[in-house]
């Protein structure tokens, strides 16, 4: 049976080996990027310079500067090894000089481009082979790698970019890295660098490069790289956690294991083990073995066992619960995998016959211990090493005894009736059947049935009949068989029952854990995980449960289940949270509390607390339940930790995106504000300073320019304000407004922009929408202005009711939208390629924001009936406009009195 509460021994061993290997082998640090040009080499050189400044012996093995001055400048002052130049078919290929590097043996060697393929004739086909050899030689390596070169991602990258990546590095190499530094650059900046010729393109020349460096590709690659690094962080956390199941740091010397049972004497064992551990400066483990196939402990024993284990825990022991058929075997197996050097066990206090009958635990321990020392301690009181078995619980109560009595009575009656037709052997057989059946109910009923059968058989059928005297000694054998059969069968039955029950329990626990894991595995939502945790804990343990996580103010708040908690209960949870230890009812800390609080841990930090409370009165969980609770807590901790990581990753992605937006905003704004300002300044100063030399026409032109540019400035500002408003969330003041009025308002405001361009309007007079009139007019205005700027007349404005929505179309006869840009046009700062029309590219983004705020949508497409684009706004109709009070259709002279 695998114990969920303790680390898998195999995994632990592998971990230790990995750790040892890592210590022996030199460090590998990888500067990891999403695509060429993000600045990995630059970052590596910068870090090398810092190391150098700190006095580390850093040498540049090979670094590709690609002729870039800023990168090359970083090489200044660093020791650069000469390259080994390989002549391959007339081409001189400069390679890393592996031999020279091994001879030079610097502390840190920089080797750029892990994925590089060495020139034919080199010692290794790939550069990463060289790096491996250098690492083996104990030289710390700093290198660079792009995500698309990872072997396992080759297919994905090809799917995304359409570029087949030939130079790959096995994932094992990246996993070997002790440190990965992600070099991240927003795609926009990368594209800018590319445009400025700052990115060196070796393999993907020409078209391939164009295909590769698409914004979409870069975004996808960036995500791949970020995820890859995030996954690594996750697995490191898991590794840390599984290692954390045992004490750390891993000791080289002594390790002590104490066998804890339910007897009061175990307390003394625990304290003795603690003293020994202290003296040896050794970590220690308190182990309890739950014997398979043995009857479970009684309530009193269970409480005592738990107290003993808690004591051990509070004294600094790692507590493990093992289960196995044979206690000694289980303990020794565990001790061997854990490098236990000493086992502390109790001196037996029971009678010797029990050892003869069942085998002595101590004896088995000593025989099987091999190199492990066994310390035998005398308990103060009666009691022995684990576990103190108590009498069978099975068959308690009077009920199971009624039917052995009945069976004997029936058989006796039957025998009396059919006495003339049956031999005594037949009757004995009948009794045996009765005993067998009765034995299924447990040992007690078996004994009762056996005794009664013997007595009844003797009295009624064994001559001399109706006396307890026996004429023939052979009958004694019959009696013995009857007893023996009863005992044997009942013992087997009891054992089977227990096995069955613990199997069922195990199965139930596994199923509960599985269900829980399934529920939280894919969830990265903290609340969902908390709710699932509370529900599963409640269902599995039959208690009320709450999950508490720290809130922003540093307090603990319940986010799922049982709420609200009293201040005292929060305090218990708080203690558990701060000390990363179980607290509350039935523990050593705050045992008077009504709740039991178990910390939820992810890696080295506590991410929350699960608190449980019995429905009626507080109760101590049995080991099995504690086990389940611990397993849940561990899973929940990991899930919450993962959710936190996800959230953090998302937040940092958001920050990056905001940063990116801000920089594009700044560049767009500085361009779009500066240009008109420059024109206005120029024209105005000309008018002021040089007016004498200007003709009337020139003056008029300058003045027109000033007015035009000022208007342009205003539009830019209006859209900037608009986007800020829609992005920070707008409060709509909705009113029912005729679409006609909205369209009319927009067209009136655009009168000068539209000029004499033809505008065709097809809007039903009775069509109304519930919108914010000011914002919605802005939407229509932007769309019409867009049609004027980028399209060609006639511009058509058309509105229709469609089911429960109103559709407004603004179409033009211009060149239409670039294919594939139908969505992009609504992006902030999108400018149609080659467009010279003024504007920051915010107008349509504002439109989309306003439409979305109204629960509607705006889409763009090319007209199907000839050239031109059409923008379609859809606004859902909610409710109906209030009908105005009726009035006479025409003005009657009598009643009109203005």
């Amino acid at each position: 049976m695998t114990d969920d509460a303790r680390p898998d021994p195999d995994a632990l061993l592998a971990r230790i080996q990995a750790e040892e290997q890592r210590e022996a082998r030199a460090k590998l640090k990888v500067f990891f990027g999403a695509s060429p040009g993000v600045g990995k080499t630059f970052a590596m050189l910068e870090s090398a310079r810092r190391l150098k400044a700190d006095g580390v012996d850093v040498v540049v093995g090979c670094v590709e500067t690609h002729g870039r001055e800023d990168t090359a400048a970083l090489l200044d002052g660093l020791e650069v090894m000469p390259r080994r130049v390989v002549d391959y078919r007339g081409v001189k290929l400069p390679e890393l000089d592996l031999e020279a590097a091994l001879r030079r043996r610097p502390e840190v060697l920089l080797v750029d481009e892990l994925a590089h393929t060495n020139a034919p004739g080199s010692r290794h086909p790939k550069r990463w082979h060289d790096v491996m050899e250098l690492l083996e030689a104990g030289i710390e390596i700093h290198s660079t790698l792009n995500v698309q070169h990872l072997e396992s991602l080759g297919d994905v990258v090809q799917q995304i970019t359409g570029v087949k990546v030939r130079e790959t590095v096995p994932d094992m190499v990246l996993e070997r890295a002790d440190e990965i530094e992600l070099i991240d650059l927003p795609p926009e900046e990368l594209l800018e660098r590319l445009a400025d010729g700052k990115v060196y393109l070796a393999e993907q020349a020409g078209r391939a490069a164009q295909n590769f460096f698409q914004r979409g590709n870069l975004l996808a690659l960036r995500e791949l790289a970020l995820r890859r690094v995030a996954a690594r962080v996750d697995s490191e956390m898991l590794a840390y956690r599984s290692q954390h199941g045992i004490s750390s740091p891993w000791p080289a010397g002594e390790r002590i294991l104490v066998c804890v049972g339910a007897s009061p004497g175990s307390e003394r064992l625990v304290r003795a083990a603690r003293r020994m551990a202290e003296g040896l400066h050794a970590p220690w483990v308190a182990a309890y073995v739950d014997p398979i196939g043995q009857p479970p402990l009684g309530d009193k024993d269970r409480d005592r066992l738990e107290a003993n284990l808690r004591l051990a825990e509070s004294l600094g022991a790692d507590v493990v619960r093992l289960s196995g058929r044979r206690i000694a075997e289980t303990l020794l197996a565990y001790a061997r995998t854990q490098n236990i050097s000493r086992i502390v066990a109790g001196k037996p206090t029971h009678a010797r016959w029990r050892d003869r009958l069942r085998g002595s635990l101590l004896d088995e321990l000593i025989r099987g211990s091999g190199q492990i020392d066994i310390h035998v301690i005398s308990p103060i009181e009666r009691g022995g090493p684990p576990p103190a078995a108590t009498g069978p619980v099975e068959g308690a109560g009077p009920w199971p005894y009624t039917w052995p009595v009945a069976a004997v009575a029936v058989i006796t009656g039957l025998g009396l009736v059919a006495y003339d037709y049956l031999t005594q052997a037949d009757i004995a057989m009948l009794y045996l059947i009765g005993i067998m059946l009765a034995s299924l109910a447990g040992r007690g009923p078996a004994l009762v049935a056996s005794s009664l059968s013997v007595l009844a058989f003797d009295f009624c059928f064994v001559p001399p009949r109706f006396t307890f005297a026996i004429s023939d000694v052979r009958y004694l054998i019959t009696f013995a068989v009857m007893f023996g059969a009863g005992l044997a069968i009942s013992t087997l039955t009891v054992r089977l029952r227990h096995q069955e029950r613990s199997a069922v329990q195990r199965e139930r626990r596994t199923a509960a854990l599985l269900a829980f894991t399934r529920d939280v595995a894919d969830s990265d939502d903290l609340d969902a995980i908390a709710v699932a945790t509370a529900r599963h804990v409640e269902d599995s343990l039959g208690v009320a449960a709450a999950v508490l996580v720290p809130d922003d103010d540093g307090g603990l708040g319940s986010i799922a289940g049982l709420a609200p908690l009293a201040a005292q209960e929060i305090a218990v949870a708080r203690w558990a949270f701060e000390h990363a230890a179980t607290a509350g009812h039935g523990t050593e800390t705050l045992p008077g509390a009504r709740i039991l609080a178990v910390p939820l841990e992810a890696g080295d930090r506590v991410v929350g607390v699960v608190a449980i409370q019995g429905h009626q009165e507080p109760r101590i969980l049995d080991p099995e339940q504690r086990h389940v609770l611990d397993a849940f807590a561990r899973q929940a901790g990991l899930a919450i930790g993962r959710a936190r990581l996800d959230t953090e990753a998302r937040e940092s992605a958001l920050r990056a995106r905001t940063e990116e937006l801000r920089s594009s905003l700044l560049s767009a704004v500085s361009h779009d504000l500066r240009t008109p300002l420059a024109v206005i300044t120029g024209a105005a100063t000309t008018l002021r300073d040089d007016s004498a030399g200007l003709g009337a026409a020139a003056r008029a032109e300058l003045l027109d320019t000033i007015v035009e540019e000022a208007r342009r400035l205003e539009r830019v500002l209006a859209n900037l304000l608009g986007i800020t408003r829609v992005e920070t969330g707008i409060e709509l003041s909705r009113e029912w407004v005729p679409v006609e009025e909205l369209v009319g308002g927009a067209l009136t405001r655009l009168e000068t922009v539209i000029g004499d361009r033809a505008v065709e309007i097809d809007v039903p007079g009775d069509l109304a929408v519930a919108v914010d009139p000011v914002l919605f007019e802005q939407l229509l205005l932007n769309l019409v202005e867009n049609a004027v700027k980028h399209g060609a007349p006639p511009i058509t404005v058309r509105a229709r009711r469609r089911d429960r929505a109103v559709e407004i179309e603004i179409a033009d006869r211009g060149p239409g939208l670039p294919v594939g840009a139908e969505q992009q046009v609504f992006d902030k700062f999108y400018r149609a390629p080659g467009t010279r029309a003024p504007g920051v590219g915010l107008g349509l983004a504002v439109c989309r924001g306003i439409a979305a705020a109204h629960g509607g949508d705006v889409v763009a497409e090319n007209r199907t009936d000839g050239p031109g684009a059409v923008f379609r706004v859809t606004i859902p109709l909610v409710g109906a406009p209030p009908a105005p009070p009726p009035e006479p259709a025409e003005l009657a002279a009598a009643e009109a009195s203005p």
Partner: protein, 232 residues
């Protein structure tokens, strides 16, 4: 556009804006008195008294709307408020508090001159507001005594509400009327929230008055504020 004695008080805290207004208004023959705060503005109006007040709504020592309210307690001097786009609520509040019209920053000198002209005309009572008179605005002719409306000489039949709306707008031709003002005057004080009624009747009115109701030339919508009948 002005009598030689016309004085305009400009309440505005931005020196550049004051300089522009001073230059422009002086050029149009006004005498300009400048104030940078609500308190200075109120004092200037009390001491002068001016023919018109140009009032910026955002002032360092208080809200321009408050100044409008205080002025209206003792003065009927026309007030034109100046405010930025997107502050429709402020404009409506100022107008409902008694301001006569508004200008949205930035504005051209043509717009400024037109607003001032209309405000001065209405203040002098020669805006055709006399009850029973015939009012003409562009092609629209409203005969208040006969309850008759004609557009380009052709008679148009209006409902009582449409007629009252048109009369109100025509009496204030060139000036903006807020939704609230129109609703109160046509439907009564209990109807001031029923903007939808107003919109429906304005739409009907446009259909009868305008050549193309979706591109109105005369009954102009001031988004978020109200309506204005253009004066030719």
């Amino acid at each position: 556009m002005s009598d030689p004695l016309d004085v305009v008080v400009v309440v505005e805290d931005e020196p550049q804006m004051r300089r522009f207004l001073r230059a422009t208004l002086s050029g149009h023959g006004f005498r300009v008195i400048e104030a940078g705060t609500v308190a200075d503005g109120e004092r200037a109006v009390a001491q002068t008294p001016p023919s018109l007040v140009l009032l910026d709504l955002g002032l360092p020592d208080g809200d321009g709307i408050e100044l409008v309210r205080r002025l209206r307690e003792w003065s009927r001097v026309p007030v034109i408020v100046i405010s930025a786009r997107g502050r429709e609520d402020d404009k409506v509040a100022a107008l409902d508090a008694g301001a006569d019209d508004y200008l949205t920053k930035p504005f051209g000198v043509g717009e400024l001159a037109a607003r001032i002209r209309v405000a001065l005309r209405h203040a002098r009572g020669d805006g055709g507001a006399a009850a029973g008179a015939v009012i003409e605005a562009g092609p629209i002719r409203v005969d208040q005594a006969r309850h008759e409306v004609a557009v380009d000489g052709a008679a148009v039949k209006l409902t009582p509400i449409e007629f009252r709306l048109l009369v109100l707008l025509a009496q204030n031709a060139g000036k903006v009327l807020t939704h609230r003002q129109l609703l109160r005057d046509v439907w009564g004080p209990n109807a001031v929230e029923h903007t939808h009624y107003l919109r429906v009747h304005m739409a009907a009115l446009r259909r009868k008055i305008e050549k193309d109701p979706a591109r109105p030339q005369w009954l102009v919508t001031e988004p978020g504020v109200g309506y204005r009948l253009r004066d030719a």
